[in-house]
């Protein structure tokens, strides 16, 4: 093992491989920062170029692209309240308020450092535990997947707003929206209203941009100010954010561990890992229940380290079984096939050097990505002080173009406008928006897994040990949510309705 690790490290430090790794990192950073794109598109573009590459050159480039997607996706989230990828939604809850307070630089510094530490942690865990984690991954079957999906919805609903029960119901509304389209069991149209556009269901990116982006921009335009409600001189710095990440080293460790474990669960990890980490931070950090959601830097650190660590976890089932841990990993598997790499025992025996090359690439890419992002942090932080009448038109046009990428039809723009109105209304009424997106993301998994579970086990699937544990967590989460809501209402007395997310 040590020999293979050393060999792989030596292979990586050649100028050619480092250069290609760097190319992948730069591409990944750009794609992660633009809502609607992301690593999947980048991989699809890059893979054909790697057909004739040596695997020891292609792998660092592809891993480099994947590793840093969730580093730069913080940028639109902190500045505009728009998630760059599905894995950065939780970051917005505290990152965006920090930007509004003039602490965008601090938020970026904390996020990037946490991302780097999480990414390295994920790589280390992958290196050490790939030999033993296989059975754990296989312990999850359809009932466990179903219950994890429900837990994800309830957790997000509870954490993302002042009124947890409302949040949970919004999450289930998101599940309903996920049912629009062709039924996954038989293929008959559901709730398509004879619309060809809706046969394919609602495109996630269009809905997410409508729900998050337009309402935020609209609010800022109405106020006529800028993102940061403080003078330019008061804009907070990245150094403080970096120190925050190290000061909260225990939180980084916990979040990263959670990111790796959840990332290893095929199909589920990417969309919920940041929420699980945020949730555990809120429950374990001192005073968090009062400060989270209002610009607490710990609310940025926890999800950011988790969503970078998850890549290490997602590589485990991908490498060991050829089961992609995420959509991007599914595409990476293609690259494996092209390079002649066969997922399975060979990857931890005869091809161990290639596996360690991926691990080293993951770690180094996170360092590169963080370095680049930190370098540009002062400039990014200044965006928060740009007058909105300069920024808004550009952002709105980019949002419309990004939404149009979904299916490149007029329906995308109509859907964007409809969900913008919905998002705006939810914001004004104080209804949390992230649970709706998560419901939309998890709807298909939850429905399919429930269907299979009932056929295999009947209602008895609820008595499986892991399912029971998760069910208890769900009950505890909902109970906690009900308690919080009651407390909020008692404190709420006669305060005007505020926009809360």
């Amino acid at each position: 093992m040590i020999e293979a690790a050393t060999q792989a490290a030596a292979a990586l430090v050649s100028p050619e491989r480092i250069a290609f790794l760097f190319i992948g990192v730069v591409m990944g950073l750009i794609l992660g920062a633009i809502p609607g794109l992301g690593g999947l598109i980048g991989l699809t573009i890059l893979i054909p170029f790697t057909f004739d590459f040596d695997p020891t050159v292609a792998l660092p480039m592809l891993i480099g692209l994947l590793a840093v997607n969730t580093t730069s996706d913080t940028i639109p989230g902190v500045l505009f309240g728009v998630p760059g990828t599905a894995a950065s939604q939780a970051t917005i809850l505290d990152g965006y308020p920090m930007a509004q307070r003039g602490e965008a630089g601090r938020a970026f510094g904390a996020a990037y450092m946490a991302s780097m530490l999480g990414g390295i942690f994920g790589a280390v865990v992958l290196a050490v535990s790939i030999f033993v984690l296989g059975p754990l991954v296989l312990a999850f079957e359809s009932p466990e997947f179903f219950m994890l999906g429900i837990f994800g919805i309830t957790m997000v609903g509870t954490l993302s707003g002042k009124f947890p029960l409302r949040g949970i119901s919004i999450g289930f509304f998101g599940l309903l929206l996920a049912m629009i389209g062709l039924d996954p069991q038989i293929g008959l149209p559901r709730w398509t209203f004879n619309s060809i556009y809706l046969l394919d269901g609602l495109p996630l990116i269009t809905v997410a941009l409508g729900i998050f982006a337009i309402p935020e921009i609209a609010d800022m335009v109405i106020k006529g100010t800028q993102i940061a409600d403080v003078p330019k001189e008061a804009l907070g710095g990245r150094a403080e954010g970096i120190r925050d990440a190290f000061r909260n080293w225990a939180l980084v460790l916990r979040g990263s561990a959670m990111g790796v474990w959840i990332g290893a669960i095929p199909g589920l990890g990417g969309s919920v890992v940041d929420w699980f980490a945020y949730g555990q931070a809120r429950q374990t950090c001192k005073g968090a229940s009062e400060t989270f959601g209002k610009g607490d830097v710990r609310g940025v650190i926890a999800p950011e380290c988790a969503n970078n660590a998850k890549d290490g976890g997602a590589l485990i089932p991908t490498i060991l079984f050829g089961i992609p841990g995420s959509g991007s990993m599914a595409v990476l598997l293609v690259a494996f096939m092209i390079m002649g790499l066969k997922p399975g025992p060979a990857m931890i025996t005869t091809q161990l050097d290639k596996t360690y090359l991926m691990i080293w690439s993951l770690a180094v890419a996170n360092v590169f990505g963080t370095g680049i992002c930190l370098f540009f942090t002062p400039q990014l932080a200044k965006v928060a002080s740009i007058r909105i009448h300069l920024l808004a038109p550009v952002v709105v046009v980019v949002v419309f173009l990004a939404a149009f990428q979904a299916t490149r039809s007029l329906g995308d723009l109509v859907a964007l406008i409809v969900f913008s109105l919905l998002g705006w209304s939810m914001k004004r009424a104080g209804w949390s928006r992230p649970p709706l997106i998560l419901g939309l993301v998890l709807g298909s998994i939850i429905e399919t897994r429930l269907y299979i579970s009932l056929q295999l086990h009947g209602a008895g699937f609820l008595l499986r040990p892991v399912v029971l544990v998760i069910l208890l967590l769900i009950i505890a989460t909902v109970g906690y949510g009900a308690f919080q809501e009651r407390r909020s209402k008692q404190q709420w007395v006669k305060v005007p309705v505020r926009d809360e997310d």
Binding site: I45, E141, I196, G322, H389, P393, T448, I452, Q455
Partner: protein
């Protein structure tokens, strides 16, 4: 106020102008249809299965033969018993030559008029078709041979996509023909392809499955090497014009279902409605994998892709990769020829139709 409005207008106009003029307007000549463009493969199964493996194999080689060498993107639309993909291609995809359906099992879907199969293959613009047998195997902790199907170590779990899916029909027919008692197995639907089934086979959630040569080679062979599943126990074989089924020449050492039946029961070969339905099933495997454009696609892209596939078939690099996966060369049937045999492939005898209607729980 006026100044602000002008600024809004100016910045918006500039941004739109910048995006609008960021690419040169292409010349109106037929230089190359695909130059600077991308081609999307629309796939009706989840990633990781035989359809995906085939599409990725094509992606690796076909660029050399398409003038303009377009970028190739993948869009997966599994579900509905694999009907969603062709339904979307037929009803929603623009017939502009930039979306190519790469499908498995569509001929059978149309023949059985599967619920959700809202498309007409006769109107699609066919590009190529591939025929492949399927092989069947089982988890070694459930059975080690066909004889163990009758006294399995534990209940056999047969995963499926949906009752109307042709792959599911094939799976269920194998047990009906072999007369495996119904109490020995459970049929569970909802999986979206070989990829998710592979995970279920590994974890033990499912135990019995049949996969095409491409899917077995690309995904399941490693499970055999690890001892999790048996080597293939039998194959679908190849339907002859006289109605007999012989071993596919690519796997000459693997018995057919009929031969296994003879071995079990000592009779010449199976007969009856289930066997007629099976013969029809095997016949559809001649067109098991197809690539097609939506109806109304212009002749130019159809011609370009058809020629590209035929040129790629002669490429030894492509065949070398195909052999690594399936163990044999791949034969690509031109689209026109494949479409011409569709009526014959889709036709089933009345007793076969009745049996399949019973399996699917519908009337055609």
């Amino acid at each position: 106020m006026v100044g602000k409005k002008l600024t809004y207008f100016g910045v918006t106009f500039f941004t739109l102008f910048a995006f609008g003029t960021s690419r040169p307007i292409p010349a109106a000549s037929a230089k190359t249809f695909y130059e600077g463009k991308s081609l999307t493969f629309l796939i009706n199964y989840a990633p990781g299965g035989g359809t995906d493996t085939f599409a990725r194999l094509v992606e690796r080689h076909i660029g050399r033969y398409i003038p303009g060498n377009p970028g190739i993107r993948f869009k997966y639309v599994p579900g509905g018993g694999a009907t969603i993909g062709p339904t979307l291609l037929f009803n929603k995809s623009k017939p502009n030559g930039f979306v190519l359906g790469v499908f498995t099992g569509v001929a059978a879907m149309q023949a059985t008029k599967a619920p959700g199969a809202n498309f007409d293959l006769n109107k699609m613009r066919w590009v190529v078709a591939v025929g492949e047998p399927s092989v069947y195997f089982i988890r070694t902790d459930t059975a080690k041979s066909v004889k163990d199907f009758f006294k399995p170590f534990k209940k056999i779990i047969m995963p499926g996509l949906s009752r109307n899916n042709s792959k599911d029909i094939g799976l269920r027919l194998t047990f009906d023909i072999l007369r495996v008692p119904k109490e020995n197995y459970k049929y569970v639907t909802g999986y979206k392809g070989s990829g998710p089934v592979s995970l279920a086979l590994r974890s033990g959630e499912a135990s019995y499955w049949g996969a095409s040569l491409t899917s077995y080679g690309g995904r399941h062979r490693s499970l055999t090497e690890e001892g999790i599943i048996t080597p293939p126990l039998f194959q679908t074989g190849k339907l002859q014009p006289d109605g007999t089924i012989i071993r596919d020449p690519r796997i000459p050492n693997l018995p057919t279902l009929g031969e296994v039946y003879q071995d079990l029961y000592g009779r010449p070969h199976p007969t009856g409605p289930a066997w007629e339905a099976w013969k029809w099933q095997v016949g559809t495997r001649v067109l098991i994998r197809t690539a097609m454009f939506p109806p109304g696609t212009p002749d130019e892209p159809v011609g370009l892709l058809s020629e590209a596939f035929q040129a790629m078939e002669k490429d030894e690099r492509f065949q070398a990769d195909a052999k690594k996966i399936t163990g044999a060369r791949m034969i690509l049937v031109p689209g026109k020829e494949a479409k011409s045999i569709l009526p014959e492939v889709a036709t089933m005898r009345p007793e076969a139709q009745e049996y399949i209607e019973k399996l699917m729980g519908i009337k055609f």
